[in-house]
């Protein structure tokens, strides 16, 4: 599904990713763990095409297609979704309006029919219920005045509504209490399928108790410093990242 080869990227002239290689096969869930400032969020922005994150070397392909050549919205239409570490507030735009505009833009880009308003609302109600989101919250301007946990839940709501193929979750667990964490994890697990892959970026192994990864990677100093099975997450929790320090 996703193949990253020797990826180098700079932010504001500083090289942050320094030869990162990673492969996430279809149907698998991979976790990326690493100390603060290792470049985890940078990786998520490079994969989604954020301005200011310049790729200086290497390749990224999604099902063989050059991802780096695409605009952010084209990548989204191909099924790449990022749950932001810090979701953005969108004043004046109700969550439902925002999401329906996004969904229809994706459908248009793929040459599919737009979703009708009643159809969209019906699904939104179902998904909101499963994520224990008060439907009225979706009528409010997106993320404006929401708590950290509410914002994270809204990210998962959008993810479920857009049904992407390649999911990146950047520290989705931060700011969530244990009940919210379970709800979010259930939402993510419900999306697991043989034709979807996920990259779960996290600082703590706690989330990985609920979303079981196929593989765990350590990102330190801009590259993958170690890879292993789920047991690696527990080992990191016990030992910290000191031995991977640059």
């Amino acid at each position: 599904m996703l193949e990253i080869q020797n990826l180098h990227a700079t932010v504001g002239g500083t090289e942050i990713l320094k030869g990162l290689t990673l492969s996430v096969p279809a149907g698998q869930v991979h976790a990326i763990m690493g100390p603060n400032g290792a470049g985890k969020s940078t990786l998520s922005y490079v994969l989604t095409g954020r301005e200011g994150y310049e790729v200086t070397d290497g390749t990224v392909t999604l099902d063989g297609e050059d991802l780096l050549a695409l605009e952010p919205d084209q990548r989204a239409a191909k099924g790449v979704f990022l749950s932001f570490q810090y979701p953005i507030e969108i004043p004046g735009v109700p969550g439902l309006t925002f999401l329906r505009t996004a969904l229809n833009a994706q459908k248009k880009a793929r040459g599919e029919d737009e979703v009708s308003a009643p159809e969209f609302l019906k699904r939104a109600r179902e998904v909101a219920k499963s994520l224990k989101i008060d439907f009225d919250m979706l009528k409010r301007p997106l993320n404006v005045g929401f708590s950290g946990g509410e914002k994270k839940r809204m990210e998962i709501f959008q993810m479920a509504m857009l049904s992407p193929r390649f999911l990146i979750l950047d520290e989705t667990d931060s700011g969530l209490d244990i009940d919210a964490l379970k709800v979010v994890a259930d939402g993510v697990n419900a999306l697991r399928s043989p034709d979807r892959s996920m990259l779960i970026i996290t600082h703590y192994q706690r989330l990985l108790d609920y979303i079981k990864p196929d593989q765990v990677h350590v990102l330190a100093a801009g590259r993958i410093a170690a890879s292993g099975g789920p047991e690696l997450a527990h080992q990191l929790e016990a030992e910290g990242y000191d031995k991977y320090a640059a």
Partner: protein
């Protein structure tokens, strides 16, 4: 000195120029090299943007006159269509609106273009009696190469309510001006504007409100967005004369420059010569939040769609203040379409 005088006399020296302080950003003398011939008689086309929300319509085509009068206590919604169906010619319209004591008028005004390269000039005199109510919503859609000037002189009575929302997309040169004499005396004024100006268009929303008596309110909010080499001009002046104590005046102008080539010129002025006056003003010119644009694009919106949606939300605050439900919907749809055509 005015465009209407110049059209009437054929004398180019009557045109306002950049040496006139109030016209320095919207010079006409440098723009009009000769007074074009008068526009021919023409018939209306289409049914206007407000047809679905209003049953009574008045037409002014390629200039002419219109009189709207509401007798005391009357209540009406009237669409006024000012149509330019002209190619390279010029025309003037004069409109008189009187709303007698206690009467209520919703005036849904459209400036419509079915032509190109014309010059149009509209002068309006609006008079509200004591406790009269007028809501005026103006949707001005001129041709890109037209020159269009509208001036409304407004006089209002004690305890009356005058509310106005002007929506404009500009033209080669477009100016919509409102001059209002405020008696205080419990009268309330709302003076709003929205401009969405694309490539090579220019719009100028100018207003002067003069508070002459004690205890009046003025609440003004204008928001705009410019794209391409568009230019937006906002000039707002609220004067609170000596003795107009206990006036409450608010003025806000906020604009977005959607790409680096657009220009916004603004001159908000609050001139206060009275005591015990509550005044507030804000004036900002900025850009859309890059983070919000990336967030919207990550969810699948194209850059153009993301900009349109965020800009729509930005100006929505002004459109929400329109009181007439049907007109508010028309304005919202109109703005949404115009935004998506902005380049």
């Amino acid at each position: 000195m005015s465009l209407s005088r110049a059209l009437e006399t054929g004398d180019l020296a009557e045109l306002p120029s950049r040496r006139d302080e109030d016209w320095r950003w919207s010079d006409l003398r440098g723009l009009i090299r000769a007074i074009p011939p008068a526009s021919p008689d023409a018939s209306a086309r289409g049914e206007g943007p407000f047809a679905a929300v209003c049953s009574e319509t008045m037409l002014v085509i390629n200039g002419g006159s219109a009189r709207i009068h509401l007798a005391a206590g009357e209540k009406k919604t009237i669409a006024l269509r000012l149509i330019s169906r002209a190619e390279g010619t010029s025309h003037s319209a004069d409109v008189a609106v009187t709303v007698a004591e206690g009467a209520e008028l919703t005036l849904l005004e459209s400036h419509e273009s079915f032509g190109a390269g014309y010059i149009t000039d509209v002068e309006m005199d609006i008079t509200l009696g004591a406790s009269a109510v007028l809501e005026r919503v103006v949707v001005a859609t001129e041709a890109a190469d037209a020159i269009a000037v509208t001036l409304a002189r407004v006089g209002i009575g004690a305890g009356s309510k005058f509310a106005q929302t002007t929506l404009a997309i500009g033209a080669k040169r477009q100016r919509i001006e409102t001059r209002l004499a405020h008696p205080g005396a419990g009268a309330a004024v709302r003076l709003d504007g929205v401009y969405l100006v694309g490539e090579k268009r220019h719009t100028d929303l100018t207003s002067t409100v003069t508070h002459k008596g004690e205890g009046g309110t003025t609440d003004q909010l204008t928001k705009g967005a410019v794209a391409g080499q568009g230019r937006g001009v906002f000039q707002g002046r609220i004067t609170v004369e000596r003795g107009a104590d206990k006036t409450d005046a608010k003025m806000g102008h906020h604009a977005l420059i959607l790409d680096d080539r657009g220009e916004v010129d603004s001159k908000p002025e609050l001139l206060i010569f009275a005591d015990d006056v509550a005044c507030a003003h804000g004036n900002t010119v900025g850009q859309l939040d890059e983070q919000a644009i990336f967030y919207a694009r990550q969810r699948g919106m194209t850059l153009a769609e993301a900009r349109a949606l965020l800009t729509e939300a930005f100006i929505g605050e002004v459109i929400d203040r329109i009181e007439h439900d049907g007109a508010r919907d028309v304005a919202r749809t109109w703005a949404s379409e115009k935004l998506r055509g902005l380049t």
